[in-house]
Symmetry: C2
């Protein structure tokens, strides 16, 4: 390889080499401001999501430092902010809850392992260019999954607002255990929690308009709104400290080690790896899909394109980083990325500065959150995730297609009722099965000539010319094994009663594949029709399909011809009803 | 319901009421002759297949009596002969080998349960009209599975020829255990076995020509050939008896109860049912596919049609019958059905007469086969199944499509290496995955006008007219979630560099479905192109697809128009480059 080749390759896999060289002071200033805003927002969020994942709060901070830097080096999105996110935190809790007890050392180690596994999977998918696999998560399945997860997450946090114990990875479990321990509810905690909840909801809706009316500059009002959670954290922490509520049983964050992210070793023993592999795979794919859709949305606004396969590499690196520095699985979060984007981040460098900010927080600020009540963190989570809950997809998909509706409904119900992993898996499988079922009973139209054109359409939908001796059938599906016998039966039943038919033309404009089973079926059809004295023709066979047919015996045995255009078939057959042996290829 | 309704319904579900009334003496004579020939052939075959299934020989006879009668009543094929067949016998052995020890009472009961389960499944599928499910077994998968099964069966019978012990449900297992016990090989048994093998192969190939040369009437020569196995049975039995070979360690059939099929009760305990359900399902589907393809082949020769869903009911009844009369799973066999057909059977009544013949055999002839050496039965099986082995499918599928080849190869290898159930399941899953993979990266063609026509084809394959301002893209696949983002990326990348493009026309002649995910992608594409000042149009949208689009907002937001024919789009856009708001529906 020449030096330029190496450089090109390096630039491809390490985008920073590309945008890094053209980094200007302007960009630097914008990135820095964005970083400050995002940092302020991320501190409480990181602590809260760690709580959601069942991990100590510092894990949330650690998971936001090195991963951000690594993504800044390997990722392609200019605005994506990587770190702990709600859905992945929930999936993490569900996954490692099966292999270790919360609060044990094993639990934290399992989280590291999960991050490394998912990092490895993402990296492998990226290098193997398997980004397209994410497409098998259909839009309805994702929408349903996110909504259901939002509900699950909110429900799982209610216990901190009430100051009681509850657990479970399905809605019934959570509600049941909540109800069981309802009597232990602590009024003081509830007051704090509801207070924080009310405040945060108000910040979201009411603060900015108020400030604007008070003549505050929009940009500043924006920042104030983003800083709302910090306000809640500060105020509630002070209250707890001032009135010594911790002694009265208000659950607090407590001592958080004052340090940079530690170097940690995941446990890669065969048992743990095999136990966590499937969850890691699901987390990787879900995280990737969420991240890519955010990145694409933001990139589009600036006419930028992102490279999904390189995104896999960026996220893979980020997760490996998380696994070796005391974190847990991370991905590109919607909220933080939008904030980053709105705050004017121009390059991934903004992410790096955010990392520095969080590192400082981890070093210096952790003692200040000793008295931070868990209820406040729970409140920030609830406010954040309830914005994910959106049932409108049920209505829109119902109106458009029952199959898509079924996929959404199944995903929502199963996620709530049987947990995130079952829910998303079932959603994907169901959408595939429904597709296979549809293609196994394809739509078939008998077509005729639209007068005055060379265009053929369904005789039942349009006023078209037909010829009793020429039966033209347009099959609206690729011909492959699930529907191979279908066409044979359809045609034979159609011509059975109709003595007038002398020619059957299969219009193949919608046939994108003819697999081996379908080829067999076509050969059988050709023979059966021959026995009945009917000639079989094809028309509008596509290039790739024709290439394949030419490698088989079918074109040899075909009693009729292959016409380039349906109109050619019409002209030839309606004028010369006698079948002709001579044949003409479509290519 | 009126009396006629009931009659019609009865005729539909009990075809015998239909053909039964027009039964003539001619038909009776032909059926009777066919029955005699088939009976002669079935006696040794039934005993042999029971041996293959690991059951006592009489089970094979029992499985051929009531089931035949029930199929004659409920089945739709005139020539299909139902009973034990090689592949299903092998699958039976594999299935019940997992829940019971061969030779134990539990083993025989498990066989009954398996038959009843598969009967119930088939009946349910028939009443629910699920016959189409069989199509998911693609032709290559079936071909590969039959070939591999043939090899497995032949290998499993070698032990009887050598007079040694061996077991296993995969080729490695069988070969390994054979090799282990090779030292116990019994020369006398080997002599008998090889003799029988040689004789049967010769009968298959050499006997008929010889007789014809000797001037024997063809019909008679045919019958003689069919009777070959009986000859081998008689001769070897006499040899064993005359020379007292049984005492010298030649394995014989021994005492077979002299009785009509007994009334038996399957064990339907939850454990056994849940253990056997999946195998029963596989046996049902495989058996159904084999049976239907035989029935269709024979029906076609006489211009008759068979009803797959009614076939399910017929086979279901037959298997229920087998389960309650000491048999095991049965289906329509190829060999016996062809014999029945060639012998001139005209109605299912022939089957009923065969049943009578076999009942007489079960009552009267069983003592005569006391000294029948198992080696002879093994020989008849080997000769029968080796005719199933056909590797040509590997070559033909390789030439036609690598995906189909992969499915065949995987099915053969996994069936031999990991057993029949894994093999066939993997084959089906692989063919589905390969199809999904293909559709996730569809073929897309940029098309132009074929001069002098209204027909549009690939610009890279045909000499066509194009207009730099009008980019027409024909996507050769339904638009659904696996490829939803693909089109968006493709179009955006295509127009990115090309400033000349003012209009993008998506030619939808090959788009049979636009699901919700694809709709989202189209809406995104429409907006992105709008931002670039490019108008998006559709053409040749099919009725069913258009119906759906009209239920969405897309047609409202679409910047361009929907053209009935691509030629209309060409005329409108190449003449009037300015985008027009006014829209025209495809319907």
């Amino acid at each position: 390889m020449t030096r330029t080749d190496i450089l090109a390759l390096a630039k491809r896999y390490v985008p920073v080499l590309d945008w890094g060289r053209s980094y200007t002071r302007d960009a630097f200033q914008n990135d820095l401001l964005a970083a400050v805003i995002v940092t302020i927002m991320l501190i409480p969020q990181s602590l809260a999501y760690a709580l959601l994942a069942g991990l100590p709060p510092e894990a949330g901070l650690y998971a936001s430092i090195l991963p951000i830097v690594l993504y800044a080096i390997f990722g392609t999105s200019r605005a994506l902010a990587v770190g702990p996110v709600a859905v992945v935190s929930l999936m993490t809790a569900a996954a490692i809850g099966q292999v270790a007890e919360q609060g044990t050392a094993g639990y934290a180690v399992a989280a590291l392992t999960l991050a490394v596994l998912s990092g490895g999977i993402l990296l492998a998918m990226g290098l193997l260019k398997l980004g397209f696999l994410a497409n098998f998560l259909s839009h309805p399945v994702i929408a349903g999954f996110i909504t259901a997860s939002g509900i699950l997450i909110a429900a799982s946090q209610v216990r901190y607002i009430l100051g009681i114990d509850a657990h479970g990875h399905t809605l019934p479990e959570v509600l049941y255990t909540l109800n069981e321990n309802m009597n232990d509810a602590d009024p003081v905690t509830i007051a704090l929690g509801l207070g924080a909840l009310g405040f945060l909801f108000w910040v979201r809706k009411g603060l900015k308009p108020l400030l604007l009316r008070m003549g505050v500059r929009p940009r500043l009002a924006d920042i104030a709104q983003k800083a709302g959670p910090v306000g809640a954290v500060v105020v509630t922490t002070l209250i707890v400290w001032a009135f010594g509520l911790a002694e009265q049983g208000v659950a607090i964050v407590g001592a958080v080690p004052q340090s940079l992210p530690p170097l940690t070793m995941p446990d890669l023993s065969a048992d743990l790896v095999s136990a966590l592999f499937v969850p890691a795979l699901l987390i990787s794919v879900i995280g990737f899909v969420e991240s890519v859709s955010v990145a694409q949305t933001l990139a589009a606004k600036k006419r930028q394109r992102i490279d999904p396969d390189q995104e896999l590499i960026g996220l893979g690196a980020a997760n490996l980083g998380a696994g070796f520095t005391g974190g847990y699985p991370v991905t590109g979060g919607f909220a933080r990325s939008v904030v980053n984007f709105d705050a004017g981040a121009e390059t991934p460098a903004a992410g790096a500065y955010t990392a520095v900010g969080l590192a400082i927080a981890a070093l210096a600020l952790t003692p200040l959150i000793f008295f931070l009540p868990k209820a406040t963190l729970a409140a920030t989570i609830i406010v954040a995730v309830l914005s994910l809950v959106d049932f409108s997809i049920l209505k829109t998909s119902w109106g458009y297609s029952k199959a898509d509706f079924a996929a959404v409904a199944a995903t929502i119900l199963l996620t709530l009722g049987m947990g995130v992993e079952t829910g998303v898996t079932a959603g994907v499988l169901l959408s595939i099965l429904l597709h296979l079922y549809k293609t196994s009973k394809p739509h078939v139209a008998e077509v005729g000539l639209v007068p005055g054109t060379q265009h053929f359409r369904n005789i039942h939908r349009h006023a078209v010319d037909t010829d009793p001796a020429v039966l033209t059938i347009r099959i609206d599906e690729s011909l492959y094994f699930p529907n191979a016998r279908f066409l044979e039966d359809y045609v034979l039943n159609r011509v059975a009663g109709d003595k007038a038919v002398k020619h059957v033309v299969l219009m193949c404009s919608a046939v994108n594949v003819i697999d081996f089973s379908a080829l067999e079926a076509l050969e059988a059809l050709n023979l059966r029709l021959k026995d009945m004295g009917i000639t079989l023709h094809l028309s509008e066979v596509k290039g790739p399909v024709m290439d394949r047919l030419q490698r088989s015996h079918f074109l040899h045995d075909l009693t009729g011809r292959v016409f380039l255009a349906q109109f050619d078939a019409w002209v030839a057959l309606t004028q010369a009803p006698a079948p002709e042996p001579e044949r003409q290829a479509a290519e």
